[in-house]
Structure formats: structure tokens, C-alpha cells
Symmetry: C2
């Protein structure tokens, strides 16, 4: 039998509002579609719908920038109130230039502008009135969605919360896992052998990030985007993984 | 209709030797499988089989290390002959520590150990006798494979040559495009609007790298690996793309 991996964009996810229970919304959309989950499926969810459900929307006019934010705003030409939010959401600034601040996010990963989003936040946002912060704790959000879907469908699955991240040396944003439940995000090949019995060059595979990148291909960014993708046929190690497992410890990071 | 993306690992690719024509090998495997290519398919090929076909195998005993290689070898604890090959394959060393040299490869991307591979090179390699360099020009290899497959099946497709790369701030290797034919590797969303009419936060999507990451999930690393994956249903912009399009220009790179 051919080894296959199938990704399906789940239609029918409505516009999400604060207080919505994303796991229930996904279960309803799957029921409407007649597409029940199966053991081993990975449900990939865009951070944006989770942030909306968690009420992570901030009115930019309500933000009072600190002197530090004012200084970075002068240096980058960004709105000082947005910079204030970026700093609040970050452990520290790593690099900055005109229009761009790259930080270590409070969740531990490195990304631009602390992942704060202007697009698709809410109607009437033409004047930059609202922005959306990343979910408070995407691992927790993933675990919550997983619990709801597992009891609804009676299956064992994994859930990933993903965002679109830039990379250090390459252009183009790719889907990246920022929340994990029910899987080990790295597949450990240490000790495995190659075709000819030698130990492998690559010892840890970024399975969760690979699945995230694949799912993001189907999500799109614009008005046609679908925030939930079901991945069937992915080979992963089930278990108690979390975002922290994927993050290179700062002392081993040669590029921070 | 549901939007779907299907990835199929192509069985029946034999062990590859110098002089093999990879496009023909893939066409034969597809014929044996009864799985003809369709318009819009992306054929993803692991760099290793292309390197083997191109005779990029080097006997480590044949390499005479330069004084510079000896110095880096002392610093990293690596075999000076391997270091010599890494330097020959690279524009410059970016970082080094025990067991690891990160360079800007002569092809322009940043990766560890110049992508030189010890595993799955050939039988009887238990003593590190042979290593495999990356393909001479992966874009050219991709174009060649594309030409053969397009005339064989009478379709318009894209071809990606991929490798497994580490990332700056995250653990785990992910599939990454190092050769491109028949597609624009970045999908340009500049000017597109979100759900509510605002311009998008993400303006360029790393489509080729996303497809590479997805395909690598099916390839595996060990003895069970399959070096060719057919991706069906991916949304991409056909055209004359190449690796260079994906590489962040050095002067815009804050982390080199």
C-alpha cells in the first residue's frame, strides 16, 4: 500500500467571537461535513481563531506606551502603542530595524512583532483600531481542544496550534507550531540506523513543525482562509509534548 | 468541495548509482505504480538520490585538509578532511562549536556541515569511508527531472529538490527546498486583502518550503525512507522560480 498523507481544510468554521469554545465549533463543523475524526489524526488550528475566542483583542487607542516603547518606536518607525504591546508580549528584543522588531516572545520562540496581528481581527478595522495578541498559553488551548474532540469522537488524536513565522535566512512565512497536545513535537531517531547500518545524520525531526508547515499551505492568509485543517496519515510519536520541547535552549542557540 | 492536499510516497525507487537519470527512474516507478502525474502536481525529490546520480560521492581518505581546515577541525573536534570538504562547499563559516560548523553554503543557504551526508551513502560505509556532497546545482537538477516527467506524461508540473535543515531557534530538522523548477517558491500576497478589507500582515508565503516540509514528513530518514513524494492539490504560482528567490539577501539578514 502506498504511504499517503492527506490534509483537509475544514469548511464551515464561522467567524469566532470571545467566549466561543473552539473545540465545540470544530466538532460541529466536522459533524456538518460528515467527516468524523479517526485515531491518529492531527487537528491543526490557526492561532487567530483561538486568540479571538480567548478575547486577546486589544484596542490600540487604549495602550499607553512606556519610554522604552517610545525609544524603539523612534528607531523602527512603528506605532509606539503597538511597540508597547510587542514589548509586553516579549522577553527581550533581539533585533530591530525600520518597520520590524524581532523578539523572543514570552512563550519562548523568536518571531517578528511578537506575532501581533492586524489582519482579519474584526470588521471596521481599517484604521488600525484593533490588534490581536497570540493566545495566552497555546499548549493549554491545544489540550482543551483535544479533550473536547477526543470525548466527542471517542478517538486518540493530537492537536497543534500554529502561526505563520518568518525565518532567519529565508524569505516567506511558513506554518510553525506554537501549541502542542497529544504528540511529541520532535521525533527522536537517535540510535536508528540507515539503509546500510550506519547511524543517521539527522537525529531529531521537527515533526510538529513539518505538520504545521503542511497545514498552513491549505489555510491561506486572505479572505478565503480556513483556520482548521485535519491531517490524516502523519507518522508521529503520541505523548505529552509541548511547545517548550521544540525551542532550542538559549545557551545552545548560536543565532540569538 | 473540500480543499485537500494529498502527499504520496512513491514506492519502487531502486538504490541509485552514478549516471542514473532520476527523471527516468521516477517515471518508471510511477508507471509501475499505475500513478500517472497530473497537471499541477509537485514532484518532491530528496537531494540524496540526485547527489548519488551525479556522482557527488567523495572518499574521505582522498581529501587533503588545508591549514584553515585543520584549524576549524581543532576548534570543533571534527575530522579535518570532512572540514576541508565543508569549507570547499561553502562561501564562509558563520558559527562553529564542538561537533558543528554552520556555513553559508556556496548555493547561498545557511546550513550545518554544508549538508554533507554520511548516512545511506553506500554499503560498507561503516568506517566513514564515503560522504555525499549536495548536488552541483539543484535548480538545474530539478529542471532536468521536470523536463523528462513533463514530456513523459504530457503535463505541467513543478519539481522541488529538498534537504533536511536545522533552524536557528528551533530544534528538529525540517524539509527545506534547495532546488526549484516550474513554480514560484514564494507566493506573493502583496496587495491582497483580508476578510474585512485590510491588507495582510504576511505578504509572502514560503510555499516551496512548506511543500518541502510536508513531503519530508513522508520520506523518513532511516532504512525505510522513500526519496520521492508526489504532492497533489497544492496551490502555487507556476513560473520560472529558483532557489535564489527564497534566500534572504545577506544585507537584509539580521541573523547572519
Amino acid at each position: 500500500m502506498r504511504k499517503q498523507l492527506t490534509l483537509t481544510a475544514l469548511p464551515g468554521i464561522p467567524d469566532i467571537h470571545e467566549g466561543d469554545e473552539i473545540g465545540v465549533v470544530i466538532a460541529q463543523a466536522l459533524a456538518t461535513e460528515g467527516y468524523p475524526l479517526q485515531n491518529g489524526d492531527v487537528v491543526v488550528v490557526a492561532q487567530k481563531v483561538i486568540s479571538k475566542a480567548e478575547g486577546r483583542k486589544v484596542a490600540i487607542a487604549s495602550v499607553k506606551p512606556s519610554p522604552e516603547a517610545m525609544a524603539w518606536a523612534r528607531r523602527t518607525g512603528k506605532d509606539p502603542r503597538l511597540v508597547e504591546l510587542i514589548l509586553r508580549e516579549s522577553n527581550r528584543v533581539l533585533r530591530a530595524r525600520r518597520g520590524l522588531i524581532i523578539t523572543e516572545h514570552r512563550l519562548g520562540f523568536v518571531c517578528a512583532n511578537a506575532g501581533i496581528d492586524h489582519s482579519n481581527v474584526c470588521p471596521g478595522n481599517e484604521d488600525n483600531g484593533w490588534v490581536l495578541l497570540l493566545p495566552e498559553d497555546p499548549d493549554r488551548s491545544a489540550r482543551r481542544i483535544r479533550g473536547i474532540l477526543q470525548s466527542h469522537f471517542g478517538v486518540e488524536i493530537a492537536v497543534l496550534v500554529i502561526d505563520s513565522h518568518g525565518r532567519a535566512w529565508r524569505l516567506g512565512a511558513v506554518g510553525t507550531a506554537i501549541g502542542v497536545a497529544g504528540m511529541r513535537p520532535l521525533t527522536d531517531l537517535r540510535g536508528q540506523r540507515d539503509l546500510y547500518g550506519r547511524t543517521l545524520r539527522t537525529t531529531r525531526v521537527g515533526t510538529a513543525d513539518g505538520i504545521a508547515a503542511a497545514a498552513a499551505l491549505l489555510m491561506g492568509e486572505g479572505a478565503e482562509g480556513t483556520p482548521v485543517v485535519i491531517v490524516r496519515g502523519a507518522s508521529y510519536q503520541p505523548g505529552d509534548g509541548r511547545l517548550q520541547d521544540i525551542l532550542r535552549p538559549r545557551e545552545l542557540d548560536l543565532f540569538r
